[in-house]
Symmetry: C2
């Protein structure tokens, strides 16, 4: 089983270069990638944007919404990529269309490569419950693909956030990410990997290698610890 799970925030030239390099390394010599754009409202615009913004690594990006039968499109795909946006909307559509079973089967049984970024990483986890997104719609279930045995919190950061008011930085007092993940562990047991922006986890069966950014690992009842890029998340294997 091969998956490439990105955090998001690929907005600088350096980060886009890493994105393309990792995508190419992951998908190899397939020609076309089936792209799931359901996390954004306008599927066609999103699919075109992937090429326009240079996030295609030279592959043909084939939006799943262009297919009359999305499950059949998954069955015939050589490579699958799921983009970011709103995870609740993505999850709702994927359940409605039967895509969780279809993609899980194709990636686990048929060994085709899966790539997810942000919301696409959330849905690769056992559930989508470590999303940062707003619940703009209710999915039939929070369950997701379960390609990895841990949750990822994408766009992770440590500590407080600051906002600008009249060009001054003002500390914001909403819950930090660590607060939110602690709350997750008050009701759930699955480990959580807080993945900083521009980071990827290269997944090969039970091998999880961190690339591009560091991550913080949260296990229920344990102290969190940081893992540097280039390392493997050995404790989660």
């Amino acid at each position: 089983m091969r998956a490439l799970l990105g955090s998001g925030g690929f907005r600088t030239e350096e980060r886009r270069a890493l994105y393309n390099e990792e995508m190419r390394r992951h998908f190899g010599d397939v020609s076309r990638v089936l792209f799931v754009p359901y996390a954004l409202h306008d599927h066609e615009k999103y699919t075109r944007m992937m090429t326009e913004r240079g996030l295609d690594a030279g592959y043909e990006i084939d939006g799943i919404h262009r297919h009359d039968d999305p499950v059949k499109a998954v069955r015939e795909a050589e490579a699958i990529s799921v983009g970011g946006g709103n995870t609740f909307r993505l999850t709702a559509d994927m359940h409605r269309l039967g895509l969780f079973d279809a993609i899980r089967s194709r990636v686990i049984d048929d060994d085709i490569p899966y790539m997810g970024v942000s919301a696409g990483t959330n849905v690769a986890c056992p559930t989508m419950q470590t999303t940062n997104d707003m619940p703009i719609t209710m999915p039939s279930s929070f369950d997701a693909l379960g390609l990895v045995p841990f949750q990822v919190n994408a766009h992770y950061y440590a500590g407080s956030i600051w906002v600008k008011e009249d060009d001054e930085f003002v500390e914001h007092f909403g819950e930090t990410r660590d607060d939110r993940i602690r709350e997750f562990h008050e009701m759930n047991d699955t480990p959580v990997v807080g993945l900083w922006e521009a980071g990827f986890i290269r997944v090969e069966d039970r091998s999880f290698e961190l690339v591009g950014a560091s991550a913080r690992v949260f296990r229920k009842g344990c102290d969190a610890y940081d893992v540097q890029p280039g390392s493997k998340l050995v404790e989660l294997a």
Copy 2:
């Protein structure tokens, strides 16, 4: 119908003073306030903390978890306050215990005053879908009290956020609040009030007065606009 809806972030001395002043103005000469602490894990600790941190305005804070029959406690309450924390957990418990109907009836039909902060403000809205919280548990429904005809996004801020890495401010590329609220309006029609930290909305039937901080009003298909403290949200009445 009387409600006082706070954003959160009451962590400075000045903000706590405003909190106490507004709470006292709102609840008047009742002696005891029924407090709903379900948004945090430890109900008793949370209830005690309200007094220990000086967020009681001199009232006796009576945790609803201390009552064998929480619906009966609501029926007998003279004033109700719902605290912040995780909105999914709060909503799940309130649905499970039948508290939405009980509180709605007491506040709308019997005219007792309701106060909510952060998650407690989210559940005063038609749904809890403009929360910023992590979906750590799935409530049976996203529907909420509907005391006001709009959604509130608590802890609102405009623009990007910054995080500190090695004492340097680094811009974070996750969705902004305005992005999230735009996504909400791609799937929902209800207006959204983005309420900055330390702000309150004083609700009296269809009068909505802003106190302590400004707010940004988002209506589907319209440009957002800012409202200053001391003003009324006239367009939402």
